[in-house]
């Protein structure tokens, strides 16, 4: 039986990331079903709008604060969360399955001797126990798991748990100044890819494959992505060919994604690629080959030439925007 659930929020550059609201909402929904309490922590320096988490069902947030905690540090963040859990008696801890969550959650797991299930996409309660569903083999299969340890850690796949509209309620925020954070591992610099959205976070992804014929044609993919506020993705073939960076690769040796809309341009749909994107809510495929496997998972398909269809899509969306 759960007593108190902890949602670990995430900030970057002093702003809460979208995943924080997803984790807060999922934690408060599950707390309600388990008849348990729920609270949240955020670690950083100045962090804007923490009280807004109240709109997603979390009434209390502890903000651990220090100037050196503005950037992520696994050593400092891990110590703080483990100490919080030990003091507060949380028995279920939720993180986002983000670059930070994947790095940090296992550290906390060892400190708390907690079982850990990563990248969960659904939760059910069976006989009073929390059962998590998580994709394995990049989504070719799913497993339902329960954790048998006293303390339990789950990370939540981004873009899967809909935070819904905030209620307008404000959370109580308690600020705790941290003395001497443990900075044995610390981020000394953040290198941002200018203005680029990441496929792991985007709600729309426009991906290009070998059918784009060369890196010089990816401006079409980029332009369509820009118009839609989307991230640019790529198939393994074009990453291995050096046309696009690996950070854009979608699939089993790239990123597994679940956006609202996935537009596959000139991608045939190798099994590794389909595994990585098939859980997208809507899939659009444009490919000359009507037998391409991508059409087996696409909601909408055009069996045409990307060099005719994509410019037409760009024009049509521009028209819409000009309204």
């Amino acid at each position: 039986m759960a007593n108190k659930i902890l949602a670990v929020l995430e900030q970057r550059d002093g702003k809460l990331k979208k995943i924080s609201f997803e984790v807060a909402r999922a934690a408060s929904d599950i707390a309600q079903k388990l008849n348990a309490g729920v609270e949240a922590v955020v670690i950083g320096n100045e962090v804007e709008g923490i009280e807004n988490v109240g709109g997603y069902g979390v009434e209390k947030v502890t903000h651990y604060k220090h100037a050196d905690l503005h950037n992520y540090s696994s050593s400092a963040y891990g110590d703080i969360i483990a100490e919080h859990v030990n003091n507060s008696g949380n028995d279920i801890i939720f993180f986002g399955n983000t670059a930070m969550g994947k790095d940090l959650a296992p550290k906390v797991a060892v400190k708390l001797n907690a079982g850990i299930a990563m990248d969960c996409t659904a939760f059910e309660i069976e006989d009073g126990e929390l059962i998590a569903t998580r994709p394995v083999y990049a989504g070719k299969a799913l497993i339902d798991v329960k954790l048998t340890s006293g303390k339990k850690i789950f990370t939540l796949r981004p873009n899967v748990f809909n935070p819904g509209e905030p209620s307008g309620a404000k959370a109580e925020v308690e600020v705790k100044e941290v003395a001497n954070p443990n900075l044995s591992v610390r981020v000394v610099e953040l290198k941002k890819s200018e203005g680029k959205l990441d496929v792991a976070e985007a709600s729309i992804i426009v991906s290009g494959g070998r059918g784009m014929k060369g890196p010089e044609n990816f401006h079409l993919v980029e332009e369509l992505a820009d118009l839609l506020g989307a991230a640019v993705g790529a198939s393994r073939a074009v990453v291995d060919a050096g046309w696009r960076p690996h950070s854009e690769q979608v699939g089993q040796t790239g990123k597994t994604v679940s956006p609202n809309l996935y537009i596959a341009l000139g991608i045939s749909g190798a099994i590794q690629h389909l595994a990585g994107m098939r859980s997208s809510k809507y899939i659009v495929a444009v490919n000359k080959d009507p037998d391409a496997p991508i059409f087996q998972v696409a909601d909408y398909g055009i069996t045409g030439d990307v060099f005719e269809v994509v410019p037409a899509m760009i024009e049509e969306i521009k028209k819409l925007k000009e309204g």
Binding site: N71, S74, K102, D103, P106, A109, V110, G115, I116, D119, I131, P135, V136, Y137, A138, G139, K140, A141, I143, D144, K146, S149, S184, V185, R186, V187, V188, E189, K191, K192, S193, K196, A200, E201, I204, L228, Q249, T253, L261, I271, K281, Y282, V284, P290, F295, Q296, V297, A298, D299, Y300, I302, T303, G304, D305, V309, A312, M313, E315, E316, L320
Partner: protein, 248 residues
């Protein structure tokens, strides 16, 4: 300097997954097992680190006899020695990490490489768990690494960019694609690997905290509509995305 690299032996990514008769794992029949793709970057980085700092590279894998194939591959690429931690039962990441940490301690390795994730259970945590059990620092999902004396500077991939992380030895690094270009084993390396013995020992026992209740296939996706075969279908596509799917 002793350098360790931990590898897992996993189904090739081209595998079509079928659920096994136990309903909790995949049916292994007809499945080709390979060294985990991310572990190839880990092996390469271990070898490069040895070339830079001197020392020796030991490769460690937990599993069955079959894992020897991945260990031999690492030996053929240039690892000096190999250890198989024998266990034929399924372990969760934490239980794997406990056995690996034990062996890394035995080996006295101060720089340890993992792939950033195994492409079977996709947890992406075994390296971090092992590091924390050992009390080592770690940096995960690394795409650039410099080790200078005791100091470690690693760049890790994050959403929309990279973090430059500073820490010190002893350290665990989990390798992301892009960190290096794994070398091919030379014929000489393959021959030499055949002559090397793989040390075998029982994996340190550990309890699982994760209980798999069932494995299932994702709900099949219904094939959708083919709207047309040229640019004239675009207005209808955009209308459907706006009015039916409501995603743009």
């Amino acid at each position: 300097m002793k350098i360790a690299v931990c590898v897992s032996h996993v189904p090739d990514t081209a595998t079509k997954v079928k659920i096994g008769s136990d309903g909790k794992s995949i049916d292994p029949s007809g499945v080709t097992y390979v060294v985990n793709p991310y572990d190839e970057f880990a092996i390469e980085e271990a070898l490069k680190t040895k070339e830079q700092l001197g020392g020796e590279v030991v490769v460690i894998s937990l599993g069955t006899e079959a894992n020897k194939e991945s260990l031999r591959k690492a030996l053929a690429m240039g690892a000096d020695s190999a250890v198989l931690l024998k266990d034929d039962k399924q372990r969760d990441s934490f239980a794997v990490a406990k056995a690996l940490a034990e062996e890394i301690k035995n080996q006295g390795a101060e720089i340890v490489f993992f792939g950033k994730q195994s492409v079977d259970y996709d947890n992406s945590i075994t390296g971090q768990l092992t590091a924390e059990l050992l009390g080592y620092n770690y940096v995960s999902v690394v795409v650039d690494l410099k080790i200078d004396g005791n100091k470690v500077i690693a760049e890790r991939e994050i959403e929309g960019g990279r973090e430059v992380v500073e820490t010190t030895l002893p350290v665990v690094i989990t390798a992301q694609k892009g960190l290096n270009e794994p070398r091919y084993a030379s014929l000489k390396g393959i021959m030499a690997a055949k002559r090397k013995t793989i040390e075998e020992k029982e994996a340190a026992p550990a309890d699982n905290y994760v209980e798999i209740i069932r494995m299932k296939k994702p709900a099949p996706k219904q094939p959708g509509k083919i709207i047309g075969s040229d640019a004239s279908a675009v207005p209808e596509l955009i209308r459907l995305l706006r009015e039916e799917a409501k995603v743009i």
